[in-house]
């Protein structure tokens, strides 16, 4: 049944997320301005926060499914700050989403407690991952990895990586597989951190693999075959996006929500009244503009939640993951940039976090597939076209 009611337990969980996010927010500006100083794995407030937690209500049949809650909690967490966490626990990296989507039960058991980054982009390939040139060659019972990866999100802090490499260059896209590699493995180097417009406290890294040897069973999903039809195996790899795309959408939405909440408060303080249900003529231009941004947020959040709900139901959500990513990518840009305009001088002042949220969320429409790539995927779905039909 179509329903949008949160259970008591859902609400309690989200309140907890919000309380933690509010603490993280206090550190947000410092770590934006001090790019080299990573947020600590545990904030000073953490111990007291966890000690004083009231237990969650018992689980019930009314609770929202875990993937949907994951998206909502992600929105709540990023509402606080993009990078600062009260306490970092295992999981949480993009690679973890890939692991949960494509890993065998044994792999999940072994790797899920580690923070896993996801390394796809190379100096010579971005939106077209079929051009991946990092290689994995089987030598006895080990894969030997060679190549360079850039723009690896949480690349410094991550304890391991889900790495894209080709096991057969001549096979094109079909030869690309994902590998689980732990930090500290000989031949796996992290030479530097990138400097960015936003999400500065986040460690976006560059990885180099030089004759890096990993066990044979570290191939994610354990399928070593190269499908004859060129897109089959690649689709398996692409499947990992069907959870990571809505999650990146959720992250951007958290920032957009923060911008909306801040702007709403400031507008109300300034005497702007938001009168829902009133016609255009009865609204101020500022109120009307703001409510349109709110509508954009609502629409975007729903596409994201629907996509995660489908993942939870085991339904194919390839189109939906591109829809929500494309929608959020555009929406969070419009929302945060619009909020900065609405608040004017306050919007651009570094005394407040709004300008930072605008910079931070600019990445949403770029990573995990640009908006353009999402639209290509959607169009291929609409027209029933292959990749060759529509490039």
């Amino acid at each position: 049944m179509i329903d949008f009611t949160l259970s008591e337990r859902d609400r309690a969980q989200l309140e907890r997320t919000r309380a933690a996010a509010l603490i993280c927010r206090k550190y947000a500006r410092y770590h934006d301005e001090n790019e080299g100083d990573f947020p600590p794995d545990e904030l000073p407030e953490a111990a007291e926060f966890y000690a004083n937690q009231t237990p969650l209500p018992d689980a019930s049949d009314d609770d929202t499914a875990p993937p949907v809650m994951m998206a909502l909690q992600s929105i709540g967490q990023f509402w606080g700050d993009y990078s600062v966490r009260l306490k970092r626990t295992g999981g949480g990296g993009l690679g973890n989403a890939a692991l949960s989507a494509a890993g065998t039960p044994e792999q999940q058991e072994k790797w899920q407690h580690l923070v896993l980054s996801m390394a796809i982009t190379e100096p010579g390939c971005g939106s077209d991952p079929s051009r991946v040139s990092t290689t994995a060659v089987l030598d006895g019972d080990e894969w030997v990895l060679n190549g360079e990866k850039i723009f690896v999100t949480t690349g410094i802090r991550a304890e391991g990586v889900v790495l894209w490499a080709t096991i057969d260059k001549s096979a094109g896209r079909a030869g690309i597989k994902s590998f689980l590699v732990e930090k500290g493995t000989p031949g796996f180097e992290v030479p530097h951190k990138e400097k960015k417009l936003g999400i500065r406290a986040d460690d976006t890294a560059c990885y180099v693999f030089k004759d890096c040897r990993i066990p044979r069973e570290n191939l994610l999903g354990l399928d070593e075959t190269i499908p004859k039809k060129s897109s089959g195996g690649f689709r398996g790899v692409m499947k990992t996006f069907n959870m990571t795309r809505p999650m990146t959408a959720a992250m951007g939405l958290g920032l957009a929500k923060a911008a909306l909440d801040f702007t709403r408060d400031e507008l109300e303080k300034a005497g702007v009244e938001l009168e829902y249900g009133s016609a255009l003529g009865a609204q101020s231009a500022v109120a009307e503009r703001f409510m349109r941004l709110e509508a954009l947020y609502e629409a975007s959040e729903l596409t994201t939640l629907q996509c995660t709900w489908m993942a939870g139901q085991g339904l194919p959500n390839n189109m939906e993951s591109s829809v929500c990513k494309a929608h959020a990518g555009s929406a969070v840009r419009a929302i945060t940039q619009g909020c900065v305009e609405l608040l004017g001088p306050m919007g651009i002042s570094r005394e407040h976090l709004l300008e930072k949220w605008m910079r931070d969320c600019r990445i949403t429409d770029i990573y995990e597939g640009t908006g353009e790539i999402q639209r290509l995927i959607i169009a291929r779905g609409l027209f029933d076209y292959t990749r060759a039909d529509l490039k």
Binding site: M1, I2, D3, F4, T5, L6, S7, D10, D61, D62, D63, T64, A65, V68, L72, Y276, G277, S278, A279, L280, G281, A282, M291, R292, E294, A295, L296, E298, A299, S300, L302, T303, L305, Q306, W309, M310, Q313, M319, E320, V323, A326, H327, E372, Q374, R375, L376, I378, A379, L382, F383, Y385, D389, L390
Partner: protein, 364 residues
């Protein structure tokens, strides 16, 4: 529990309505637009589906089936994929009937609901909109003055659907500080009903203007009796319905443009293979999906009795903006053919623009 899964019954209803829209609605849509008229037997054929009567409790003569705003929104979407004009006209009586059902006094329900439970199509209409710019449905200029044991209504309404045949109008008016609605019979003294209005879109749907010159109504004509009613919720239910219609129009455009773009060749290949076209159609798909989820959420809040003011407002505003964008770009996708009345896209564009400024009409 957040869930996006329609019930089995909803899936069945959607499929049945999709077939009906394809076979009975779409084929006559253009003729109705050109003639500015809907054949009576079409309205009767939708009436025979029981969309209005089955949801009225048995005690008032109806089918007594459970009413779901989400299901009703799905019905409106599917019918509007066929044609929004015909969908709006055929379901306009539900706008009135649902308002009585949800907000009427026991006497009002007993007196009025049986009208919708007969085999013959029965029209009654919401009269919300007023002429002139800067109209705000929550602040009507029509006033109701209490006088002894009666109310005296003065003002004007416009865009009243099916006003040529409606037996009753539910007229919104200011009653002191309160917003109220009043049941006004067609033959009320002081009520003048205009000739059909000439509109940009929804041309097949006959709309009229009402002049209320000191229309004297008995005390119990006030919706909800002495307690009055939550007129805002009636407006919100209609906004969700209008959003569902705008969603349907948008989907019609998308479903028309996809095969067109695959078929139409320019510079040696289908235009669908060009990113400029492909990306535009992707955006149409993204927006119709977003619209649908907003409609579902607002309708779900409505059927659960939860607060809907904000959700209905945001949904309406989003659907109005995006359906206009989709239909406008549908024309652009067809180029010159989009401008020619041989193709339906220009009609959908006019309908979307029209739906975006309406209030009332129908409800979920």
């Amino acid at each position: 529990m957040i869930s996006f899964g329609p019930t089995e019954e909803q899936d069945m209803v959607r499929e049945a309505m999709r077939d009906f829209a394809e076979q009975a609605v779409r084929p006559i849509a253009r003729d109705c637009d050109e003639a500015s008229e809907i054949p009576a037997d079409f309205l009767q054929s939708v009436w025979d589906l029981g969309l209005t009567s089955t949801q009225i409790p048995e005690s008032y003569g109806g089918g007594g089936e459970e009413r779901s705003a989400v299901t009703n929104a799905m019905v409106l979407e599917e019918l509007a994929v066929g044609d929004a004009t015909l969908a709006a006209a055929a379901t306009a009586p539900s706008g009135f009937a649902n308002a009585i059902l949800d907000h009427g006094s026991e006497e009002q329900k007993k007196a009025l609901l049986p009208l919708f439970c007969t085999e013959k199509f029965h029209a009654a209409s919401l009269a919300i909109i007023e002429p002139g710019p800067i109209f705000d449905a929550s602040r009507p200029r029509t006033v109701a003055e209490p006088k002894d044991d009666a109310f005296v209504l003065s003002g004007a309404k416009t865009l009243v659907p099916l006003g040529d045949q409606a037996s009753h109008f539910l007229v919104t008016a200011r009653n002191g500080e309160a917003l109220d609605a009043f049941v006004v019979p067609r033959d009320a003294a002081g009520l003048t009903i205009s000739e059909p209005e000439l509109n940009l879109g929804l041309k097949g749907l006959t709309t009229v203007g009402l002049e209320l010159e000191r229309v004297e109504l008995p005390h119990d004509a006030r919706l909800g009796g002495d307690a009055g009613s939550d007129v805002g919720r009636i407006l919100d239910a209609s906004r969700i319905a209008l959003s569902a219609l705008m969603l349907g129009v948008s989907r019609a455009v998308l479903e028309y443009c996809v095969p067109y773009a695959k078929d139409r060749v320019a510079f040696d290949e289908p235009i669908a293979k060009k990113q400029a076209i492909a990306f535009r159609l992707s955006d149409m798909h993204i927006e119709q999906q977003a619209m649908r989820l907003m409609v579902w959420k607002a309708a779900s809040h409505l059927e659960k009795g939860q607060e809907i003011l904000r959700a209905a407002h945001l949904t309406r505003s989003y659907c109005a903006e995006k359906s206009l964008w989709v239909t406008d770009n549908g024309i652009q996708t067809l180029g010159g053919h989009g401008f020619i009345r041989e193709h339906p896209v220009e009609m959908w564009f006019r309908n979307a623009r029209t739906l975006g400024v309406l209030e009332g009409v129908t409800a979920v």
